[in-house]
Amino acid sequence: MKVDLTTNLGGLKLKNPVLTASGTFGFGEEYARFYDLSLLGGVTVKGITLQPRIGNPVPRIAETPSGMLNAVGLENPGLEAFLSTCLPRLERLNTAVIVNISGFSLEEYAQLAAALPEDSCIAAIEVNISCPNIKDGGMAFGTDPRSAGKVLAVTRKQTRLPLIAKLSPNVTDIGAIAKAVADNGADIISLINTLLGMRIDIKTGRPVLANTMGGLSGPAVLPVAVRMVYQVYKAVRLPIIGMGGISCWQDAVEFMLAGAAAVSVGTANFVNPLAPLEIIHGLEAYCREKGYHSVQELVGLAHCKEELTNDGKR
């Protein structure tokens, strides 16, 4: 039986539902040494900002039980260098490219969205709303439904590319944020970004990360991410890209059952560069075994009361 892996996320068409997560896959080239990136559903590139950023001092990485903290601080070459240097190389990867953008004001988000060409390999824009709103006291845009909505609204005006709103998990009510971005022009929701965490070196008594706090990712966060995907699936009708700790196909199935129409692989790349490919194959085999013709049949099944039988029926 052939399983149809194609995935259509409100205008973003992918050959399969497996993407790579922003910030964990550089601008694609690093992992091109391991396999042909055109096998992926798509790649999401490192978050770009209007101006180049040299990011935070080191240490930027700390390990945690089944997870890691990072405080890279959005190091990136800036919009201009991205367009002139990175984009032409991305064209050659022959895969759907999602560009992750980060602004420190509404205008920055708008400028970034406006500058990304609609006729290139760029298949969608992922709007990272976890950045601090420096004009408004530094709380992240993504922690308040109103400011999250505003970011999407201003970005929406600037582009016809599909817009993915990337949600921060560091909030009381993820459903409220999801509704706000859905009401303001998001086509797709991706989640979760990293959980805010911290470690202290007991030898020196100081935080391990130069930046004191950092973002937690990896398997440790998986149950929180699955829960939030489940909640957002209940809260809004937009397609969801699920991520957070996915390291094998079983994890990916779990996210799709919770409501994700596609998944992103992040930290797992660091441990097993072949993880995204293994996940594509595992998803296909799982569908075949359960008798599904399309991988999209999995989406949201955990919301039904009945159990799956061995042949995928209820």
């Binding site: 550089g26 690093e30 490192k46 040299i54 240490p59 930027r60 390990e63 945690t64 660091f270």
Partner: protein, 282 residues
């Protein structure tokens, strides 16, 4: 780049410092270069999560074997120490840009503590019929050297000097003291190429330094070298996640024409030109 390597031998060199020698057979040996490293998966579960970077210390292309030396520093290396001969490890590598391999002149290898390990591979790779090589190595005590491959140095039959903090072996003091006196021995003012080993320093001979060790030591080595216009390469360490240049976790800062810039220790290094490295940053 991703290789299942078989453990050919695995042994503890000395209890006190917990240094292990690990010989792996697989695809890595074919292309490994001195100064490169491997990124090792140390357990079967997600805990510990990340791979561990370990320098390639010896490369035996004929047998397809690489040798690593590592110190048990925390839970990852402690787990690695339990891996048994005959088992396989998932190894990512060889990673990084290694040392320049001089074809002539003089080469001074300067090591602090376990910083000796990547220098072993350079020492073996360099053509010693054409390049004169000497090793300067500093550490805490005599026990350290004995548990950290001093035997390898002896076996490689190279000129070396050691310094210990407690004076239990070689000169009492720091490896930078050894370096300073080696550089001083032959004078060598600004712009003039100094030559440090007896019989060296004739005409076209060029002295280079390759150093590895704690950051403070590398900084001091670089300053000593720069003062005498001696080219110096340093092998840096930084906490790594991906090990392939994708995560930007492991950067250092270098000076460029356009101002300070970040470089990835894993793929732009771990070996850098000492002159470029910005040693004092926040």
């Amino acid at each position: 780049m991703l290789s299942q390597e078989k453990i050919i031998s695995h042994r503890l060199l000395g209890l006190q410092h917990g240094i292990h020698q690990l010989v792996l057979r697989g695809a890595i040996a074919a292309t490994a270069q001195p100064g490169q490293f491997v990124h090792l998966k140390v357990g079967a579960t997600t805990e510990p999560l990340l791979r561990r970077p370990i320098s390639i210390a010896r490369i035996d292309r004929a047998r397809g074997e690489i040798t690593l030396f590592y110190r048990v520093a925390g839970r990852g290396t402690a787990l690695l120490a339990g891996a048994k001969e005959g088992e396989t490890l998932s190894v990512l590598g060889p990673v990084g840009k290694g040392f320049a391999l001089p074809g002539e002149g003089e080469l001074l290898l300067v090591a602090g503590g376990i910083g000796i390990f990547p220098l072993f591979s350079l020492l073996e790779a360099v053509d010693r019929s054409r390049v004169k090589v000497k090793v300067l190595w500093g550490a805490e005590s005599r026990e350290f050297f004995e548990g950290a491959g001093l035997a390898v140095l002896r076996e490689l039959d190279v000129a070396y000097e050691v310094a210990t903090l407690d004076g239990s072996l070689g000169q009492k003091g720091l490896v930078t003291d050894l370096l300073a006196s080696n550089l001083r021995r032959e004078g060598g003012g600004q712009g003039m190429l100094p030559s440090v080993m007896p019989g060296f320093g004739r005409g076209d001979s060029v002295l280079r330094v390759a150093a590895c060790g704690p950051r403070g030591m590398l900084k001091a080595v670089t300053e000593l070298c720069l003062r005498q216009a001696v080219p110096v390469e340093v092998c840096l360490e930084e906490r790594m996640a991906c090990g392939v240049g994708a995560c930007l976790g492991c950067v250092c800062t270098v000076t460029t024409a356009a101002g300070p810039a970040r470089r990835r220790v894993c793929t732009d290094g771990p070996v850098f030109d000492g002159r470029e490295v910005v040693w004092d940053e926040g």
